[in-house]
């Protein structure tokens, strides 16, 4: 369970929200409306008011880096700082084939990866930490239809398998209705549930 309690982010109304295990929340809104800032607050990357609980563990109860291993944020643009793909993984990568790669991908040089490959690899890199909550900021923005579908399937399988939670930020209404159990939207500072999208 993920619970946002009186979460305060500049420019958005105070948010109270509970997400049940296994659920995926779809979040949309114009660029600049604060979706990314909301994800960053949940991952404790920015200062914010209020509290976030994951399985009754409050953000402030654990060290920040431990929190971010449980509550993983996937930024819209991934960053890589070492030479090969595999060096960036904290643990053995699973689901490599599920995103259309072969086992040799770990020895690939970062400089030869396309932006779409990096985006898919960044999802594998995040999942290698076995997070309980996935905060996905436009996870398929650089991907073609086939790869988007692979990512959707992988994320949904992961949620079922680990009883995990996802917040999926995206612009594609059709995709959000495929992946999300509930949908919310941020616009003009208000955070509202989308009923019958």
């Amino acid at each position: 369970m993920l619970r946002l309690e009186d979460l305060q982010i500049p420019g958005i109304e105070t948010i109270n929200l509970t997400i049940a295990p296994g659920e995926c929340i779809g979040l949309s809104g114009e660029s600049g409306s604060g979706k990314t800032r909301l994800l960053r607050a949940i991952a404790d990357m920015d200062e914010h008011g209020g509290q976030v609980y994951e399985e009754n563990v409050a953000q402030d109860d654990v060290r920040a880096h431990e929190w971010r291993r449980r509550v993983a944020l996937l930024p819209a643009e991934s960053h890589w700082w070492l030479d090969t793909v595999g060096e960036h993984f904290s643990a053995h990568a699973e689901h490599i084939e599920a995103l259309g790669f072969g086992q040799d991908v770990m020895s690939w040089s970062i400089s030869r990866c396309s932006s779409g490959e990096k985006q898919r690899l960044s999802i594998l890199r995040m999942l290698a930490n076995c997070p309980r909550v996935l905060l996905l900021d436009e996870p398929t923005a650089n991907l073609d239809a086939a790869n988007s579908e692979r990512v959707e399937r992988l994320v949904l399988d992961y949620l079922v398998e680990h009883n995990a939670i996802a917040i999926w930020v995206g612009h594609d209404a059709a995709q959000l209705s495929r992946v999300a159990h509930h949908r919310y939207q941020v616009s003009d500072g208000s955070f509202t549930k989308v009923v019958h999208p």
């Binding site: 990357m45 920015d46 920040a64 880096h65 993983a72 960053h79």
Partner: protein
């Protein structure tokens, strides 16, 4: 042992200055755009050194601890200020000055005092002929080290802030996320003195040693002093750079391991 040495006359110095003037003329002719900077620096060095010569003569004739401490204080303040002035990304001034001054005090000043008390053992221990050049050499080198290390750390961290945040998002500790950059910065701060030690005597004759030999000291005596200075400078610079890098990285992240450049620099929003 006192040996006669050859004093320089004003015409001697004018002769040397003609070389610099020739260089300035050539630079201007080739439009290399360095003429003004060179002229100002040449004038500065002349005026500053003459002034310092006069002050030192006055102090050397009358060794008073309070005078020497005052001079040491001025030297440290100027060094701390110079460190800040050399930063490409301007740190918040009060804080940047404080950590620089603190590091200079703890390393250069303390090492100078310890050396005077335990190694040189002049009578009195603060004899200015020893105290002031020693502090000067430590401060000068430490200042360089701090300025280089600090500049590298802040500059690289700023350029790579997205990478640092990515590493934090993957659950790395703040110290882990900045480690590569801190290591690089330590290197940047220490390379000049490491190079100086490695090349000393083979490629270059260190300035202080050269000076002593020109003034008539036996080479082996000059060498012993030079080795002492090299070790002191290396230790002083190393400790100071570590201190400053630690203080900056602590300030760069808050208690929740968030990257907080706003605490370090004036950041445009």
């Amino acid at each position: 042992m006192k040996t006669e040495f050859i004093t320089l006359t004003a015409p001697d110095l004018i002769l040397a200055s003609l070389l610099v003037l020739a260089l300035i003329g050539l630079v201007a002719r080739l439009q290399l755009g360095l003429g003004q900077t060179l002229s100002i620096a040449a004038v500065r060095t002349t005026v500053q050194l003459l002034l310092v010569g006069l002050i030192l003569e006055a102090v050397f004739n009358r060794a008073r601890l309070s005078w020497i401490l005052l001079i040491a204080l001025v030297m440290m303040v100027v060094a701390a200020w110079e460190i800040l002035a050399r930063q490409k990304r301007k740190l918040r001034a009060k804080w940047g000055f404080s950590i620089s001054a603190f590091a200079l005090f703890v390393s250069s000043f303390m090492i100078t005092v310890l050396t005077l008390l335990m190694v040189i053992e002049a009578d009195p221990w603060y004899t200015p002929q020893y105290a002031i050049p020693l502090l000067g050499m430590l401060l000068g080198n430490t200042m360089n080290g701090i300025a280089l290390g600090m500049d590298r750390l802040v500059q690289t961290a700023w350029q790579q802030r997205a990478v640092i945040e990515q590493r934090l998002m993957l659950g790395q500790k703040d110290s882990e996320a900045i480690r590569d950059i801190a290591r690089d910065s330590m290197r940047a701060g220490m390379i000049p003195i490491i190079n100086a030690m490695a090349a000393a005597g083979v490629v270059s004759l260190p300035g202080m040693m050269t000076g002593q030999i020109l003034a008539g000291s036996p080479p082996v005596e000059a060498v012993k002093y030079q080795i002492l200075i090299m070790f002191l400078v290396t230790a002083g610079t190393g400790f100071a750079v570590i201190m400053v890098l630690q203080l900056i990285t602590r300030r760069m992240f808050d208690s929740r391991e968030r990257l907080r450049f706003d605490r370090l620099l004036k950041v445009p929003r």
